[in-house]
């Protein structure tokens, strides 16, 4: 592709443009299975620079892919058509902290945890808590509508966005939303940008809504011999009116992974649930914890442990925390791939869905574990395969298809928090079949030259396996 590197250098400075082979190679992938090289990587420092770059790209019809930390799991920032990758991490200023208006204004490259560190002295925080909060950017969180293990209480990124500055495909910078807690009618364009995965505009600044930092918290753990009981207990909690700040479930494959890799001695049961309640008053937290425990007991939960001692809380949560490395070390030669990595179902369907996932894995000769933020109906899986074997990819593709077919049947959705991009697009397009043309019309209206992160979401290829090169060398 013919990209005028000198022109880009004149906008952002020599040191912020690279078309060196090794940089293009590194920016060709993210935390997904996909890989495709850009023609150039540019690191803008201001909204005006972003506008100039976008104007140029629009004029020459060059694809442009905004990128934060590149921690997306479905190929979000993999530039499937080449072009410009816009690394937004230089735009990392926290501009205005206003606890009195419960808001903060930041640039899009600010990292979630850096923001929360800066907010702490004011007794407030930005509530979406993705596990990747240590590195993911506000721009990326908006792009994917990220959330986390506390979404059960605080909601997702969209629930904490008041407004944003967005550079549209024609280079215009719009101030969407407002600085107020309520805003009445009219198209909520800032909400349209949330979850748009860089396909409608480039966020350069955002106004975020804050919540008070809870003063007290307590963590607990409970075991279930039957997965179904765990599912029913979680449903009962959801219906009870108690609002735990965390409800995490691990299935027996996940438990086995932790025990095999780290010898942690977790009980050999079908499911373990970790729960947390938080609040501003101790008696309120105690009351919620008691009610949650009662419900677990009513549903045959056993071995309950609870604590508000920081060391004990860390010990209780260690199993969940160690799950990730354990899955990577489950068995020599198998690696953990980001496939069918997240989905959400109505809470009453959690147990049935996990059971179905195990059945599908077994039928296809692969290993899948299921765990996740059960309190918001969110399930993560990891598919463990030998990535050098084509047959394992074929089996995974079939399993992914079958899992998402089931998800649709039970009224669930393809992604609860990680987003769609490429590898979840085929399933998502089936789910949203009736809306695809409307979405394409919106995309065409806002980005007529199709320059912004093209061929993702509704425009992604129908076969994720061949959509791009895979990041792994497949041999036989």
């Amino acid at each position: 592709m013919d990209v005028d590197i000198e022109r880009l250098r004149s906008i952002v400075g020599d040191e912020n443009v690279s078309d060196r082979a090794f940089d293009l190679y590194v920016y060709s992938s993210d935390a997904s299975v996909h890989q495709a090289k850009p023609d150039v990587v540019v690191r803008p420092g201001t909204t005006e620079e972003v506008q100039d770059i976008v104007r140029y790209a629009n004029e020459k019809k060059i694809p442009i892919v905004p990128r934060g930390a590149g921690s997306g799991m479905s190929g979000h920032t993999v530039p499937i058509d080449g072009g410009i990758v816009l690394d937004m991490k230089r735009m990392d200023r926290i501009m205005d902290i206003k606890p009195e208006d419960v808001l903060v204004r930041v640039e899009a490259g600010v990292v979630n945890d850096d923001l929360n560190k800066a907010l702490k002295p004011f007794g407030v925080f930005f509530p979406p808590t993705p596990s990747s909060g240590n590195i993911c950017t506000i721009g990326g969180m908006i792009g994917t509508n990220a959330s986390g293990n506390r979404a059960v209480k605080y909601g997702a990124t969209r629930d904490s966005i008041m407004g944003m500055k967005v550079v549209m495909a024609n280079g215009e910078a719009l101030d969407l939303g407002s600085n107020t807690i309520v805003e009445s009618a009219g198209y909520q364009l800032h909400r349209l940008i949330v979850g748009s995965e860089g396909t409608l505009g480039i966020v350069t600044e955002a106004t975020l809504r804050l919540a008070p930092l809870p003063k007290f918290r307590m963590i607990g753990v409970v075991n279930f011999d039957r997965l179904e009981d765990a599912g029913n207990a979680i449903s009962a909690i959801a219906a009870s009116g108690v609002k735990p700040s965390m409800l995490e479930l691990m299935d027996h494959v996940a438990i086995k992974a932790v025990n095999t890799a780290l010898d942690m001695g977790l009980p050999d049961v079908e499911a373990i649930v970790m729960f947390e309640c938080n609040g501003m008053a101790k008696d309120e937290v105690d009351r919620d914890m008691e009610r949650v425990q009662e419900i677990f007991k009513e549903h045959n939960g056993s071995g309950i442990e609870v604590s508000d001692d920081p060391k004990e809380m860390a010990r209780i949560y260690a199993g969940r925390k160690k799950l990730f490395p354990s899955l990577s070390r489950y068995k020599e030669g198998l690696v953990s791939t980001s496939l069918a990595d997240d989905m959400a179902v109505p809470i009453s369907q959690i147990a049935a869905t996990i059971q179905k996932i195990h059945e599908i894995a077994e039928n296809n000769g692969i290993i899948m574990s299921a765990y996740g933020h059960a309190g918001s109906g969110l399930i993560h899986t990891k598919i463990l395969i030998d990535p050098s074997q084509q047959s394992q990819w074929d089996a995974s593709a079939k399993a992914v298809d079958e899992v998402y077919k089931f998800i649709r049947e039970v009224g669930g959705t393809t992604s609860g928090e990680h987003g769609i991009a490429l590898s979840k697009a085929p399933a998502w397009k089936e789910e949203k079949a009736d809306q695809l043309e409307t979405m394409r019309a919106i995309k065409k209206a806002l980005d007529p030259n199709n320059i912004l992160n093209p061929h993702k979401l509704q425009d992604a290829p129908d076969d994720w396996v061949t959509a791009t090169d895979l990041r792994y060398k497949v041999r036989g």
Binding site: A21, F22, K89, I135, S328
Partner: protein, 352 residues
């Protein structure tokens, strides 16, 4: 390029899920800003070199040598990927393919010619018989005054060291990519230091005596702590954890206990213990990319200054040298600064 060393770690490179958690405190990505600079980027470069998707060039080699091997990435990695092993393997393959830096070659030649990284033929610490084998290491061999002070401290505390006519532990060969040279050097090392256990002065040598030579090595601060009496220095100090101490050897509490035992008040820096920020002196960058090393060390010294302590104490002579220089630089820039000392200076002062 032949990638024999990297091929052995192919699965390890697959275990990396490319999540970017390693960005969090990586000193190189913090100072340089490109994804290529972080551990994820370097693991990808390594993978690309192995598969042949990425051509080996001097620029790629430079990137892979721009790492202090401080290991912070491995503390943060959710998949426990052995990043430093991958980078060392990539360096080994690159060096074999002819991409080594002249300064690194000189260091290795020094080790081959003289047994130490500085090429010193004079000086060093004289041998003596005692009860406990002591491995001095190149850094302390070339700082005889400091080392003699340490040995006297040991004597005062009733530890009688055996000092051999030792040679470098060989770690520079391993980390700078000269692995074939290390295979040869290993025999020479064994002949000069034939002990199965030792106390050691340098944190890096301690790790490498264990991992590279199977010697039961114990850092002398651990031995000192057992016998150190209570002191009353009354100073306000902050402590810099050398990476091979807090992340490599998991020695975190002992230096802090020594500082308190000496009668000092300890104030922690913003990043500390196994999450300690790098000093900028490791992995060979001190020799091949001074500017990057300086930038990294300035960040750390500013963290130390921010504590308001009078003295920054550390337990590694490389950290000490680099941080002393950074303390001087911030003073020259008109900023507040801090005195930097190795821990033996404090122990010496207290025992006197």
């Amino acid at each position: 390029m032949e990638a024999k060393n990297l091929e052995k770690l192919e699965n390890e490179m697959y275990v990396c899920i490319r999540c970017a958690y390693c960005f969090e405190e990586c000193p190189v990505i913090r100072e340089r800003g490109w994804d290529t600079d972080g551990a994820r980027g370097k693991v990808m470069l390594s993978y690309g070199l192995m598969t042949g998707d990425l051509e080996a060039t001097q620029e790629v080699a430079d990137r892979l040598f721009q790492c202090t091997t401080c290991g912070d990435c491995m503390e943060r990695c959710p998949s426990n990927v052995t990043v430093v092993d991958i980078i060392a393997a990539a360096r080994a393959d690159l060096v074999k393919a002819g991409f080594s830096s002249e300064t690194h070659e000189r260091v290795i030649q020094n080790v081959k010619d003289t047994g130490n990284i500085y090429g010193d033929t004079e000086g060093g610490i004289e041998g003596k018989e005692g009860d406990t084998p002591l491995f001095v290491g190149c850094q302390y061999q070339s700082r005889p005054n400091k080392t003699k002070k340490f040995i006297k401290i040991l004597e005062k505390l009733g530890i009688d060291a055996t000092i051999s006519d030792e040679v470098c532990c060989g770690f520079p060969m391993e980390i700078l990519g000269f692995v074939d040279d290390f295979d040869e050097h290993k025999e020479r090392f064994k002949a000069a230091f034939p002990h199965g256990e030792a106390i050691t002065m340098c944190p890096t040598c301690t790790v490498f005596l264990r991992e590279g030579h199977d010697i039961e090595a114990r850092h002398l601060l651990q031995a000192i702590l057992e016998v150190l009496p209570q002191g009353d220095l009354g100073m306000k100090v902050t402590y810099h954890d050398p990476c091979d101490f807090s992340r490599g050897l998991k020695i975190i509490d002992e230096p802090r206990e020594i500082i308190k035992r000496l009668g000092c008040e300890l104030i922690e820096m913003e990043s500390n213990k196994d999450g300690s920020a790098c000093c900028g002196g490791g992995g060979g960058i001190l020799m091949s990319d001074q500017e990057l090393s300086d930038d990294i060390s300035l960040y750390r010294i500013r963290q130390a200054v921010a504590t308001g302590a009078e003295v920054l104490v550390t337990t590694c002579s490389t950290c000490e040298t680099v941080l002393k220089k950074a303390a001087k630089t911030v003073a020259e820039l008109g900023e507040d600064t801090i005195t930097v000392r190795n821990i033996e200076d404090l122990i010496w002062k207290a025992l006197k």
